[in-house]
């Protein structure tokens, strides 16, 4: 694909986007599910679950060795033909759309519970969707900067849970390695689901300034995500213990709420202002991925797709009923999505290994980044 070199993603922006799309809303709810299975050894399951993103990075390495700077959608069309390739791309896009709807619903639930009890889920979903369309229409440069900003906000929010080491009890992590292997593996699979969305790194290669550093940057991102997930689980365990954590919907919030400041009666007040930024960042990345893929499939104006996909994201998000129903749906659907992604990415990588380097038709993606001065 032809790209405008002056507006390509820097290393920091790339890492921020991949981190933003992985470590988003799932981190708040993940500890409860994992601790329910693996108890005090749930932190070990984080490493087992990390095998999935590392596998995707390996596939990206195989692909980028022969096709540096080419997005997976173009390779799909190249190897499988236009019809089948676009069909697979459409399924790929459907994943992002599905995740976007679940994030809107999840964000609405958490905000209604903690802050805006007087608003309906429909109103919240509408506001999120409008912000999505506005943000996505500004192009990848703006999205990248929002991700960099959101990364630091996320670190700040997560760092507040460090109070667990002051007020908590490290004995809650013991005894170590007391859980059986089957439970650990089951918990590992449970932690693999929050790692999904790393496939975004297969969409971004054309926009990366240093294309030869794709694998290195991806590995750095995975390491940061592993650390962040470890932190989330360990702080939850240290503060609440393995018995209480599974009973909370969002254990991290419980930890942060315990901070007491002089003027503010409840630290939750500050978190409630910052959480939506974190949600929005993840939501925006998912939405951008879906718009980019649909634009690749059907062509047309990028900005028009930003508007066209909005009702497709908005309406399903209104029908998840409640948080329990949403999580049940995710528990059923996400494994199938993960299986599809593994097959899809592996097939592409195998075709790359079999066929070797070939000419891939380029497309102009300037409008995805931002109009540059003077154009």
């Amino acid at each position: 694909m032809k790209t405008n070199r002056s507006n390509l993603l820097t290393d920091t922006e790339f890492v921020a986007i991949i981190f933003g799309i992985i470590a988003g809303t799932g981190i708040f709810a993940m500890p409860s599910g994992v601790v329910a299975i693996a108890k005090q050894d749930a932190w070990i399951a984080v490493f087992i679950g990390a095998l999935y993103p590392l596998y995707i990075v390996l596939m990206a390495k195989i692909i980028s060795n022969k096709y540096p700077g080419i997005a997976i959608m173009d390779l799909s069309k190249l190897f499988f033909g236009k019809i089948l390739g676009n069909f697979l791309n459409f399924l790929f896009a459907a994943q992002w759309i599905f995740y976007a709807t679940t994030i809107i619903s999840g964000a609405s639930n958490i905000l209604i519970t903690y802050a805006v009890w007087f608003m309906s889920p429909q109103q919240l979903a509408l506001v999120f969707t409008l912000l999505l369309v506005y943000g996505a229409s500004k192009g990848l440069n703006t999205i990248a900067k929002i991700n960099v900003f959101g990364f630091w906000v996320f670190i700040l929010v997560l760092a507040t849970s460090g109070v667990a080491f002051i007020k908590g009890n490290l004995l809650n992590l013991q005894p170590v390695f007391s859980v059986d292997l089957q439970s650990l593996l089951k918990a590992g699979i449970q932690t693999a689901y929050p790692y999904t969305s790393i496939e975004m790194l297969l969409i971004l290669p054309p926009y990366l300034k240093n294309k030869d550093k794709l694998v290195k940057l991806s590995l750095i991102t995975v390491c940061i995500v592993i650390f962040v997930y470890l932190w989330a689980i360990i702080t939850s365990l240290v503060y609440w213990g393995p018995d209480i954590v599974p009973k909370a919907f969002w254990p991290i919030f419980f930890v942060s709420e315990s901070i007491q400041l002089i003027v503010i009666s409840n630290f939750k007040f500050i978190l409630i202002i910052l959480w939506p930024i974190i949600y929005y960042r993840t939501l925006l990345n998912n939405y951008y991925a879906s718009v980019t893929i649909m634009n690749n499939i059907a062509g047309g104006s990028y900005k028009v797709w930003c508007i066209v996909l909005s009702p497709i994201v908005l309406f399903p998000s209104l029908h998840y009923q409640n948080e329990v129903a949403r999580r049940n749906l995710l528990d059923h659907v996400v494994p199938w999505i993960t299986v599809f992604l593994i097959i899809y990415v592996t097939l592409i990588a195998v075709m790359v290994l079999i066929k070797g380097k070939a000419n891939c038709p380029l497309q102009d993606v300037n409008t995805h980044i931002a109009p540059t001065e003077g154009e």
Binding site: V127, L131, G135, T142, F269, I273, P276, I277, G374
Partner: protein, 590 residues
């Protein structure tokens, strides 16, 4: 060299054969006199050839002009109402003057054409006189615009020497214009012009033109500076306790001279433009050639050239015409009246835009952070400079968010207010008929009325309005139970915080944003504040100022963004502004 000499000799030989008696060509010698006598007719031939070419060009322009008139008439439009055709007609007249030296035989025709192009006939003065004596006296005229040109210079430097001191026969002098400039006109700034359009521009700028009968050149003497201008004084809107007391004035040349006094770098460049089709206002770009980014310069030049408005009277009008058209309330050019600020900015790679008639100077590209810097940040020590800067940024946050946070806490999330505060708040709000949102909105609007009223009124009455408005009305609304004391306190803190923001435009922008945050908080509580913050972030991240991102972070610039680091540590220019020379000082400087 040998080929050039051979060719020259061949031409002279041919010329000698053509011109006959007055020319001699000696094949054996290279006589200086011969060269001179051969060169004269050669030069005359070249001049005639050039005049012939000029007349051909004029004829071509006339044909094109006629075609345009025909097309306008065919469309059924009136030729007289077309300003474009009017401008073109004036150019055609100007071209006719320079293309046909026969017209110069009568100086009155030239004078009439000049007056027609200048437009303001009542202010145009013409002084006809004779240079030299006897029958060979040369008819001349000076033309200038009253109140733009300094008459003293015209009288002493032009008229006195030419009318009284010329006692020789000027008929034999070949290049009369240059001769007069070198020998008789007592002025340090003279030039000889052949383009009639430039002569008209020069007279409009306050210069004087000396016309000589039968001579195709125009002598321009710089006599600008006529009329009275405001003297250099303290900048009204940007005071500083330390630092210089000079501020820009309305005269462009004086403003440029102030910058030239502060920056003696040989790379300091001044580029001149004219904007406004009818006002012909002079605009200058000032930058340091080896620091400023060429891409930003190219964008700036392109946008200035694209301005087609008929008049501009202020630099802020210019920036509205050349900035990115995205309807953002955030200012994309930094406005200042202080030469020291402009100097500091151009040293970072920015470009200053100065407009004749405007005491405010713009520097571009501008980034969000610089609107929170004061000039004294760099005159104070590190600690004070950093603390004050952080204070200003905190004040900006207060202006935008405080009122909406207060509204949210009082209306939706009172459980988040500490117990010690909630009792007095509830007590103070008892008996208030308005909702918290309306209280804050009404107070905010009244404050804006007072602020705007204070700007427009004479200073003595403005002091009264601040006392009447601030104290009397403020006290009265509380006693009348229109608003609660805590609401008044919140709005008062917001107003005071807005005074800390050094840039007026940024202050207005943030106050406007405060109202938007308030409305969103009224409908959506804390989420409304978050949603507004998200919207604001998207907007800021997507803004550009002449190709430079408006709101971004660079780690290397941290020492001059939120804090003001030690001056000896600022070895490089800010990365956020593209420049060609990143090193500001050497590593070992103390």
């Amino acid at each position: 060299m040998k080929n050039t000499v051979n060719f020259r000799e061949k031409v002279k030989k041919n010329l000698a054969n053509t011109l006959g008696n007055n020319c001699e060509f000696d094949e054996n010698k290279q006589q200086v006199n011969d060269v001179a006598s051969m060169d004269e007719p050669l030069n005359e031939l070249k001049e005639s050839q050039q005049q012939f070419v000029n007349m051909l060009h004029f004829a071509q322009s006339l044909v094109t002009f006629t075609k345009k008139i025909v097309s306008v008439l065919k469309k059924g439009q009136s030729v007289g109402k077309s300003s474009e055709l009017g401008q073109e007609y004036k150019k055609l007249v100007a071209q006719s003057i320079t293309s046909s030296p026969l017209l110069l035989a009568d100086i009155q025709i030239t004078i009439d054409s000049l007056i027609a192009n200048l437009g303001a006939t009542a202010s145009v003065k013409v002084k006809r006189f004779y240079i030299g004596k006897g029958s060979t006296a040369l008819t001349a005229a000076v033309v200038y615009i009253e109140n733009l040109a300094k008459k003293d210079i015209i009288d002493h430097s032009v008229l006195t020497p030419l009318m009284l001191k010329v006692n020789e026969n000027l008929g034999t002098v070949k290049k009369i214009s240059e001769y007069l400039c070198s020998k008789y006109i007592v002025s340090s700034d003279t030039s000889i012009e052949t383009d009639f359009c430039k002569v008209v521009e020069a007279v409009k700028a306050g210069k004087t033109v000396l016309l000589l009968e039968k001579v195709p050149d125009f002598i321009i003497i710089n006599t600008s500076g006529g009329g009275s201008y405001r003297a250099i004084s303290d900048p009204v809107n940007e005071t500083a306790i330390q630092g210089s007391r000079e501020g820009f004035v309305e005269n462009l040349d004086i403003n440029i001279s102030m910058l030239l006094r502060m920056v003696k770098d040989e790379n300091l460049t001044v580029e001149n433009f004219t904007v406004g089709k009818r006002s012909d206002t002079r605009l200058s770009l000032v930058y340091i050639k080896d620091i400023a980014d060429v891409d930003v310069l190219a964008i700036l030049r392109k946008r200035i050239a694209a301005v087609t408005i008929d008049f501009v009277t202020a630099a802020s009008m210019v920036i509205q015409l050349i900035e990115d058209k995205d309807y953002s309330p955030f200012p994309r050019a930094f406005t200042t009246e202080r030469p020291d600020r402009v100097t500091a900015n151009i040293m970072e790679g920015k470009i200053a835009i100065l407009l004749d008639g405007s005491p405010t100077v713009l520097t571009v590209p501008a980034v969000l952070w610089e609107f929170f810097y004061a000039v004294e940040d760099y005159y104070d020590n590190v600690v004070m400079g950093s603390v004050l800067r952080l204070l200003r940024m905190a004040a900006a946050l207060v202006v935008v968010v405080l009122s909406s946070l207060y509204l949210t806490l009082v209306k939706f999330s009172s459980e988040l207010i500490p117990v010690d505060f909630i009792v007095p708040i509830v007590r103070s709000r008892s008996g208030i008929p308005l909702t918290p949102f309306l209280e804050i909105l009404v107070l905010g609007v009244i404050v804006e009325f007072l602020r705007e009223g204070g700007l427009r009124l004479p200073s003595k009455i403005a002091q009264t309005i601040s006392i009447v408005g601030g104290i009397i009305i403020g006290d009265a609304v509380v006693q009348a139970k229109i608003v609660s004391p805590t609401t008044l306190l919140t709005v008062g803190i917001t107003v005071v915080s807005s005074f800390l923001i050094p840039s007026q435009q940024m202050s207005w922008c943030l106050r406007g944003l405060g109202f938007i945050f308030l409305i969103m908080a009224n409908f959506m509580g804390l989420f409304g504040i978050s949603a507004s913050l998200i919207f604001l972030l998207i907007h800021l991240f997507s803004l550009n100022s002449f190709g430079v991102p408006y709101f971004t972070f660079y780690g290397a610039d941290f020492k001059d963004t939120f804090i003001r680091g030690p001056l000896n540590k600022m070895r490089k220019r800010p990365e956020i502004i593209p420049n060609n020379d990143p090193i500001r000082q050497n590593k070992n400087s103390s």
